[in-house]
Amino acid sequence: MFELDRSQYPQKKADGTLDIDLTSGKYLKLWQGPQHPGITGNMAIELTVCGDEVVDATTHVGYLHRGFEKLMERRTFMQCFPIVCRICVPEPDFNEYCYAAAVEELAGLEIPELAHWIRTLILEMGRVNSYLMYLGGQAGAFGQGVIGQWTTYVRDLMLDRFEELTGARIYHMFIIPGGVRDNLPDGFAGRMEETLREIESVLADVDRVMFHNAVFKKRAVGVGVIDTAWLDSYGITGPNARAAGVAKDVRKDQPYLVYPELDFEAVTGKDSDIYTRADVRRRDLLLSLDLIRQILAKMPKTGAVMTKLPNVLHWKIPRGETYVRGECSRGEYGYYLVTDGSGYPRRVNVRGPSYTHSIALFERMVINANISDVAALLVSLHTYPPEIER
């Protein structure tokens, strides 16, 4: 009696847009954001609702646009390095890695073995941070604030490890073109092990309180299903695709850094609803913890971390173009870099996974959803606006 199929409602016009007369008093325009606690980051959703049901949605982005791609065109290759991490806040390291790898590829630099290991370590640590944020956000979207408290608590512990390694909490600026800035400090592995144990114990609590919670299941199971047929059309990558049963993981498909030497399998789910996406991310988080352990055990302890760079003030890179990608916590993160033989990049294009997830895909999947679920749907795609608009 509450779940009539209303997917054919309202009628569509010939050109595919909805036939809605806003003055009829039957529909309500509802803006969520940019000042709205249920929105991830700073973006806005313009909803047209009929009763409790969303009949149309438009995503508005651009509130965080700083024009990075333009700014980088007037900075030398080394000057670009400190600003790239600011593109994406919860997981800035992928910007550093993709940028550094693209520059190294075009400049023909080989980086030392140890730098590869440390880069992988940093990327996995960043992934842990990002997933912990996500778990808190997903539970928070359903009104379960305590999960966010717990996960942010352990995230702070992980930030301590970052601080120890890089000297900064959020913007690490550690993966520099040519290598990384430094080797691990003494005793890092031991302290990391403690942090990992603490994270695991909190995750066990989260598992009990969130994933085995009847109310959470009631809200999340069967809601926000992504059709497998949409995957290519909407460019869905990362955990959103893996939750739909497609093992799309750049770490496995086109391994970079030291991933070929690590032992892991891509985490997949099959139901592709909010619950599965959350669960895939939780298991991926556990996988990351395992990968950090593997990296710390297998990595060489000493060696060079930086290759010799040319004079960075007069560093010119010959004409060329390349695309470098990595698997960040939200999906495929990539840098498309074009050089023209001068000391400045000709063009940098950042491909953030949220670009397709939060606009084309979200606008599609939110149709016919309940307005109570809109915030949770947006969070479940794990989008982050700055990587859309840069």
């Binding site: 024009g67 007037r74 059309s233 460019g235 498909d253 173009e321 390349t322 294009n349």
Partner: protein, 178 residues
């Protein structure tokens, strides 16, 4: 990749082939054949994932380079298609019928480069900028520093140095005591 290029080269009159990495290559394509080629690559060759669509402004040549980057997950290959179009009144065929997500890229390109994609949905809506009345900002002839200086008042006291000259000063100095 080379093999793929050879088979398609005649049919779609492909241009220059650049092998960047074992799994990444770029091919220059004519604007007219692009849509057919993309459809062929998507349906026949397994390049089902549109990674990105972006533009590069070659101001000196008076051209925009559009880059369509496709990914073939089964073969772990990436293929970039370069399309050169004239910079004046730039216009390109829309590919939103092949990938729904492409409409967003085309909106961005329309706004940031001023490239028109006739038929693409919601092309003229504001995407990132709002109330923008200067030249499209990602074009090379748009000077962001000049615009920022003219539009936003700066706080006095900011020092800007030329990095090369500053480093020289720091390293060798006038007095030689550094």
């Amino acid at each position: 990749m080379q093999q793929l290029y050879d088979t398609l080269s005649q049919r779609f009159s492909l241009g220059e082939f650049t092998r960047q990495r074992a799994d990444l290559a770029f091919i220059t394509v004519g604007a007219v054949r692009l849509h057919a080629l993309l459809r062929h690559l998507r349906d026949q060759e397994g390049f089902t994932h549109l990674v990105l669509l972006t533009a590069v402004d070659w101001l000196e040549d008076g051209q925009f380079q559009l880059t369509y980057l496709l990914n073939n997950r089964a073969k772990c290959q990436d293929l970039g298609l370069r399309v050169m179009i004239a910079r004046d009144n730039a216009s390109m065929e829309s590919i939103h019928d092949l990938w729904a997500a492409a409409a967003t890229y085309q909106r961005e390109l329309r706004e940031m480069f001023g490239i028109d994609f006739p038929g693409s949905p919601r092309l003229m809506d504001d995407f990132i900028l709002e109330g923008w009345n200067a030249a499209p900002p990602y074009r090379r002839d748009f000077d962001t520093l000049e615009y920022a200086r003219a539009t936003y008042r700066e706080r006095p006291g900011r020092e800007t140095r030329d990095p090369a000259a500053h480093m020289k000063q720091q390293l060798y100095g006038d007095k030689g005591d550094v």
